[in-house]
């Protein structure tokens, strides 16, 4: 659906933010970008969304070079949730902000209202419609940004740390929501994130960025299989994996594999228990 070929990006002040990025996002995938602060995640998402021009290389959306598409053609297909909600919210009230997209898409009043209501429900902001967006709390604003895009019903969503600043329950629910959109509505999702613990539970594929380059890619299992050099890329194992890893390597308890999620860990621990007993 969206592919990136030999992408280089340099900011006006001379910072090389992206170097030789190759990425291929297929329809229906749920992809994560991980990497240290300043590794280029935001820059990559912004070039993929057509907001940053002046890159080298190619970004191809459904077979067409993104530079040949009009903004309208791009934003009918995909939308980006910005990292900082204050950059994204601009209308006076929450309702007006979320309604902006649907209104531009030409829906009538009723449809707009329905879409806004549905989107606000998804992000649990019902009842705050009339509130000024700048008077919302940080987490509420983050949710508002996401609602603004949900209301438009894109085929593809790019999200820059959608769960940063959300409360623990909200984080989990947001991931569930994205998973549902992905599985049930076939929405293709690419998200940047720092939440290592959630990643293995929800994502199909991961790419690790480091200093503007993709240094690893693959399923969560593949990516987390070399815990030793995590520190170089400022990552760590999910807590669960860390626990089992320590049990295995420091306490010498036998585990066949390092599980990444709670479910897997339960199974592994139970299995080891059984083995030990007899």
């Amino acid at each position: 659906m969206l592919s990136v070929e030999k992408l280089y990006y340099r900011y006006a002040d001379g910072t090389d933010a992206l170097s030789d990025i190759n990425l291929d996002v297929k329809k229906g995938q749920f992809i994560g970008l991980l990497g240290a602060n300043g590794s280029g995640k935001t820059t990559l998402l912004r070039t993929m969304d057509g907001l940053l021009k002046g890159f080298e290389g190619r970004v191809v959306l459904d077979g067409t070079d993104i530079r040949k598409l009009t903004p309208k053609q791009i934003y009918k297909k995909m939308g980006l949730v910005f990292q900082n909600p204050d950059d994204q919210l601009f209308a006076p009230t929450l309702f007006e902000d979320v309604a902006f997209g649907p209104l531009n898409m030409g829906f009538d009043d009723n449809e707009v209202k329905q879409r806004v209501a549905a989107a606000l429900k998804e992000v649990e902001l019902e009842g705050l419609e009339k509130k000024s967006v700048h008077n919302l709390s940080f987490g509420q604003r983050k949710r508002a940004c996401i609602a603004g895009l949900l209301a438009m019903g894109h085929e593809m969503l790019l999200l820059d740390e959608p769960t940063a600043g959300l409360d623990p329950m909200g984080e989990y629910r947001m991931m569930k929501l994205l998973q549902r959109l992905n599985r049930e509505n076939g929405v293709t999702i690419v998200m940047a994130t720092h939440s290592v613990d959630l990643v293995p539970v929800f994502l199909d594929e991961l790419y690790i960025l480091s200093k503007g380059r993709i240094t690893r890619g693959g399923t969560p299992e593949e990516v987390f299989n070399a815990p030793e050099d995590m520190a170089n890329i400022k990552l760590r194992l999910p807590h669960i994996a860390e626990l089992i890893y320590r049990l295995k390597h420091e306490d010498k308890i036998k585990f066949d594999r390092i599980p990444l999620t709670i479910g897997e860990a339960r199974r592994e621990i139970l299995k080891t228990f059984e083995n030990e007993k007899y």
């Binding site: 309208k72 934003y75 980006l80 919210l89 902006f100 997209g101 531009n104």
Partner: protein, 255 residues
């Protein structure tokens, strides 16, 4: 943010009244006030507007603050006119003991009348606009303007401007807090330096923000035409009321 009128308006029929009808009435009355040759009609309008504002629940203090400057100007114009123009001397102030011409001040009858007319006109006109401001939320107002075929570009700029005014005020407050939190403004010289950083930062942030707004908006389908608040269909009743009102006022104006 008590700067703008609309933050005071309460639920009131006049506030909910169709903005186009309101605009029509205000413009008609404004024209009448401006072209009136006497003093009474504008004062009558001013009194009406004042009552309306009070009925809408605008605090008197706010109303007075809003009126203060035009009122003062009216007094000045009045003084200018009656002391400095006109032929027909009404009376002369002079220090009783001296006939020294430099210390005299003449009040002219024709000047006074002229001045009263202008002051009355100002009072009437200002009251009309103030009442309109208090009775109309900004977005409604924009919708009304677009119905009156005011060019879209103008309306859009006005909406951006309105939003950025608030942004500036908020940002100024935020940055001020941030500076105070790190001991800015502690002492005269540091205060000045902090203030310089603040204004510079405000402008640069503002400009950056325009870029971000544009991105955020194009991202959500904006192509240069802001979707405006839906126009509600013209209701005959409201327009009839407005027309009757205009005719009634017109009749008084003729007298």
């Amino acid at each position: 943010m008590k700067l703008f009128s609309e933050h005071f308006q309460k639920e009131h029929p006049v506030v909910k009244f169709d903005v186009r009808a309101k605009l029509a009435v205000v413009i008609a009355l404004l024209l009448m006030v401006l072209s009136y040759k006497g003093v009474l009609f504008p004062l009558f309008i001013a009194a009406g507007c004042f009552l309306l504002c009070v009925r809408m629940g605008i605090p008197l203090r706010v109303l007075f603050l809003r009126m203060a400057q035009p009122l003062f100007l009216a007094v000045v114009v009045l003084a200018l006119k009656c002391f400095f123009t006109g032929e027909d001397t009404l009376f002369v102030f002079s220090l009783p003991t001296s006939h020294f011409p430099l210390l005299t001040l003449t009040v002219h009858r024709d000047g006074l009348i002229e001045g009263l007319k202008i002051a009355g006109r100002m009072l009437g006109a200002v009251s009309l606009v103030i009442a309109l401001g208090f009775a109309t939320p900004f977005t409604e107002f924009m919708a009304g303007l677009s119905w009156f075929r005011v060019p879209k570009g103008f309306i859009e700029i006005m909406m951006f401007a309105y939003r950025y005014i608030f942004m500036f005020l908020e940002d100024a407050h935020t940055i001020y807090s941030a500076q105070k939190n790190r001991l800015g403004y502690s002492g005269m010289r540091k205060g000045l330096r902090s203030f310089g950083t603040l204004t510079g930062s405000l402008v640069i942030r503002g400009i950056d923000q325009t870029q971000k707004t544009a991105e955020a908006m194009t991202q959500r389908g904006y192509t240069g035409d802001m979707p405006l608040v839906k126009k509600r269909p013209l209701r005959f009743g409201e327009f009839a009321v407005a027309m009757v009102f205009i005719i009634f006022a017109g009749a008084i104006w003729m007298i």
